[in-house]
C-alpha cells in the first residue's frame, strides 16, 4: 500500500532541478520516472510498488543536494540504483519472514485472484467500465473495442488487419492499445475505489 511520502518541498525542487533545468520538462520527467520505477518493482514481484517508489524518491531527496555536485551521469540511473538496492532489501526480508516456495506463492496468487474476484462486484466493475468507456474519445473507444473483438480464432489476423489499416506495425498498435487500456484501467480503478468508499 502506498504510504505518505516524506519528501520535503526543497528536496522535491532539487530533484526537479537535477532532472532537467527546464522546470516544465523536469515535471514531466519526474512523473514518468515515478511510473518507470514503480514498474521496476512490479517486475521484481514486489507487493507494494507505489510505497517502494515513494521510498526511492525519499532516499534520493535526502541526498540530492550533494548528488547534484558529485554524481556524473544520467540522474535516472541513480534512481535505478536506489530502486535496485530496495528490491534486494525487500527480497531479504521476504526470505527471512516467509517460508513458502514458489509453487506455494503461485497457488496463493491464483487463489487470491479468485477471492478478489468475489469481493469486487462484477456489476460494479461493469458499471465503471461503461462509465469510463464513455470518457474515452470515440477513436480510442472504437479502437480498443475493435482490438478485443472477435473470437479467439480470428483475433490475430483481425489485429494485423487493424494495424495495417492504421498504417502501424503490430507492436506500435499494441503500445497504442496499452496506453488506452492504462487510461481506461486507471479510470475504472478510481471509479471502483469511490464505490468501495460508498459501500
Amino acid at each position: 500500500m502506498a504510504r505518505d511520502s516524506v519528501t520535503n518541498p526543497d528536496g522535491f525542487d532539487e530533484i526537479l532541478a537535477w532532472l532537467n533545468p527546464n522546470r516544465e520538462l523536469a515535471g514531466t520527467m519526474y512523473v514518468q520516472l515515478r511510473h518507470d520505477v514503480a514498474r521496476i518493482f512490479l517486475w521484481n514481484r514486489c507487493s507494494d510498488p507505489e510505497g517502494l517508489t515513494d521510498e526511492v524518491f525519499d532516499r534520493v531527496a535526502r541526498k540530492v543536494h550533494n548528488l547534484r555536485q558529485t554524481y556524473n551521469g544520467d540522474p535516472r540511473l541513480f534512481f535505478y540504483g536506489v530502486a535496485r538496492n530496495l528490491v534486494k532489501e525487500t527480497a531479504k526480508k521476504v526470505k527471512t519472514y516467509a517460508s513458502f516456495d514458489d509453487a506455494g506463492v503461485t497457488l496463493r496468487a491464483r487463489a487470491q485472484v479468485e477471492v478478489d474476484e468475489e469481493e469486487e462486484s462484477v456489476q460494479a466493475r461493469e458499471h465503471c467500465l461503461q462509465l469510463c468507456l464513455n470518457k474515452l474519445n470515440s477513436e480510442q473507444r472504437r479502437l480498443i473495442l475493435e482490438y478485443y473483438a472477435m473470437d479467439e480464432q480470428g483475433k490475430i489476423s483481425h489485429r494485423v488487419r487493424i494495424a495495417r489499416q492504421l498504417g502501424l506495425s503490430i507492436e506500435t498498435l499494441r503500445v497504442r492499445i496499452y496506453r488506452i487500456r492504462v487510461t481506461l484501467e486507471e479510470c475504472i480503478e478510481r471509479c471502483l475505489d469511490r464505490k468501495d468508499i460508498n459501500k
Binding site: 520516472l33 514481484r45 491464483r110 478478489d116 473483438a149 473470437d151 496499452y178
Partner: protein, 148 residues
C-alpha cells in the same frame, strides 16, 4: 500466427522473470533511459497479458506470469479489469470491419466524429445550399410558365 520475434521472446523471458540478474539489471536500467526499449517492453507486456487473458500461455509461462503479475492486489485488480474490457468488447455486436473504410477516410471520419459542432455546421450549410438550389430552380421555371 507468427511466433514472437527473437527480441520480443527475450523481453518476454525478462517479463516472466526468467533471466539472470545481470541481464535483468541491464534491461531494467536501459528501460529508464531508452524510450525505444521501453516501448518494446510495453508492447511485449501487452502481448503477454493478452496471451494470459486469452489462455494462450503454456502451463509453465502461466505459472511464471501469475507469480509476476499476481503479486499485489492492485496488479490483480488490473488483470481483472483488463479481462472485463476484453469480455465486454467480445460481447459487442460486430460492427463494420475496420478495413471496410479506406484508411485516409477512416482517419478523417474519426477526426470529424470528435468534432460534432463541425459536422452539424457542415450539414446545416449543405441543407441551406440545397434549399437555395431548389428555390433558384423554381424561380427560373416560373417566367417560363408565365410566358406560356
Amino acid at each position: 500466427m507468427n511466433g514472437p520475434s527473437r527480441s520480443e521472446e527475450s523481453l518476454r523471458q525478462f517479463l516472466l522473470g526468467k533471466v539472470d540478474d545481470a541481464e535483468r539489471e541491464r534491461i531494467e536500467s536501459r528501460s529508464l533511459i531508452d524510450p525505444q526499449l521501453k516501448e518494446q517492453l510495453l508492447a511485449a507486456e501487452q502481448s503477454l497479458i493478452d496471451d494470459y487473458l486469452e489462455e494462450r500461455l503454456t502451463a509453465d509461462h502461466r505459472e511464471s506470469f501469475l507469480l509476476q503479475y499476481g503479486a499485489s492486489y492492485r496488479q490483480r485488480r488490473k488483470l481483472r479489469i483488463a479481462k472485463s474490457i476484453k469480455e465486454y468488447a467480445e460481447a459487442q455486436p460486430v460492427t463494420a470491419p475496420i478495413d471496410a473504410m479506406p484508411n485516409v477516410i477512416r482517419r478523417r471520419w474519426f477526426r470529424l466524429e470528435a468534432k460534432p459542432k463541425l459536422v452539424w455546421g457542415v450539414a446545416a450549410i449543405l441543407i441551406v445550399a440545397l434549399l437555395l438550389v431548389v428555390w433558384l430552380q423554381s424561380r427560373r421555371s416560373q417566367p417560363d410558365a408565365q410566358q406560356q
